[in-house]
């Protein structure tokens, strides 16, 4: 355990070095969030009765999404891992007295986490002081706040576990580009990064909710803003936990299979 923890610490502090990039990212995300809200404002003014969430709920959702973009961004993949699989350098990793799956998992987590830590505070603080209803409000209750943290952690691990499957697929395909861009578009769409999930047609809602993608960023953010209440919250967290276990188990299993069959190219 200790070795994984120190590995995490090294990667994490490494990620904290990119401060200038973080500032550029913060300003970009701020404009992005603002434009998104203006867009939804136009729809709200046109037909407020068709709006599935209240506007303050939406504002909180959008700002959380921008602030924690680094945790849930679908397009980030660690090229080192892909390269090591394709070039065969992965064999060195396998020699280490560590579990490769866990190590890659931690590596991905730490990069995303360090980026999010650098970026989230400025966005959240500025967004909190925006005029209503465009600001981010506090979580609806203390328990919602705590459940949000729990659910955010689960969603974060779920996304990393999902991207692990993509890394593992590179053992079989050796050319991850295609599956990668496919994954990105599916993730963006079904996690609610393009439009929040409540804006999808009613008939799709149940299906969306049961897919693992809704459990990534939709669940924590909708707990925070009070869109999900009472029993819905516990049910959604249960779904998160189940999907996390399923993805972790299948990832580990596939990894084991892949390594048994893996052919290292070249010498």
């Amino acid at each position: 355990m200790k070795k994984y923890l120190s590995f995490f610490r090294i990667r994490f502090s490494n990620g904290l070095q990119y401060r200038a990039a973080a500032w550029a990212g913060v300003s970009t995300q701020f404009v992005w969030g603002g434009m998104t809200l203006l867009l939804f404002r136009a729809f709200y003014q046109t037909g407020s009765q068709a709006f599935p969430m209240t506007f303050p709920e939406l504002s909180s959702y959008i700002w959380l999404q921008q602030a924690f973009l680094a945790l849930y961004m679908s397009w980030y993949f660690d090229n080192e891992i892909f390269d090591s699989i394709i070039s065969g350098n992965v064999s060195y990793e396998l020699c280490r007295p560590m579990d490769t799956y866990t190590m890659w998992f931690i590596k991905n987590m730490s990069v995303r986490l360090s980026r999010a830590v650098l970026r989230c505070m400025p966005i959240l603080i500025v967004a909190a002081f925006l005029p209503e209803p465009y600001n981010i409000s506090l979580p609806v209750s203390l328990s919602a706040g705590l459940l949000f943290l729990l659910s955010m952690t689960l969603g974060f691990m779920l996304l990393v576990a999902f991207s692990m499957l993509i890394y593992i697929s590179a053992f079989y395909t050796l050319s991850p580009m295609g599956i990668r861009i496919l994954t990105i578009s599916v993730l963006e769409f079904f996690t609610g990064a393009i439009i929040p999930l409540p804006f999808f047609p009613e008939s799709l809602q149940t299906l969306l909710y049961l897919l693992p993608f809704a459990s990534i960023q939709n669940t924590p953010f909708q707990i925070y803003n009070g869109y999900m209440k009472g029993n819905e919250v516990s049910a959604a967290i249960m779904i998160q936990a189940v999907w996390l276990l399923v993805l972790l188990a299948s990832g580990k299993l596939l990894m084991k299979q892949a390594l048994r069959k893996a052919v290292v190219q070249g010498g």
């Binding site: 203006l38 046109t46 068709a50 580009m177 047609p201």
Partner: protein, 258 residues
Amino acid sequence: MKLYLKYASIILKSQMQYKTSFFMSVIGQFLVSFTVYLGLYFMFHRFHSVSGFTYSEVLLCFSAVLFSYSLAECFVRGFDVFSLIISNGEFDRIMVRPRNEIFQVLASRIEFSRLGRFLQAMAMFAYAIPVSGVVWTYDKILTLTFMLAGGFFVFSGLFILYAAICFFTLEGLEFMNIFTDGAREFGKYPFSIYGESVLKFLTYVIPMALFQYYPFLYLTGKSSRTLYMFLPLAGMLFLIPCLIFWRIGVRHYKSTGS
């Protein structure tokens, strides 16, 4: 021009070496913008119209922006990855060749796989042009052509500006993405819906509304001012300050030494 075609055919051949990967990328590009389209579709499924614009009108606007963006991204891609060209020293080689630098950067990268987005734009045009309710007289056709050309010029200008900034920072500025990726994402709706101040900014600072919003009003018959039809041509002038800035950058250029 002949030389450019020569370059283009070489690049096309080299990208065709990895056929599966190439077509996967094209399909991927298509899918990425297709999900964006689906998002828009779902929004209109719920709301039917936004600020007085109907679904088919917005679709026309979206396809015009996507069309010009994907063309610019395909052919002016060299400027988009310019930070790479500087940091790996490729620009030093370009400087010593007896040809215009802009031409060489243009010809060094042509990203044909970006045509996936282009396909998406064409498909939306095919749907939106007949159903948008626009009566396609000659002036309307001309307006749309101006919009597409104007968009191509403004986006190219932005890519060049982005590259020129790299002369000073040596790396790409993520902030510029707001104007390129952001314009593609938010430009699917007419810019007026974002409010007065955004529209002003996009008219006078970065002239994107000149090829999108104003001619679009004329196109859909919401305004009958013929001046609006020619505004995209004014927007094209945006390329000039970008090129001047690029010149300043070239003069300022110091090799990274790698």
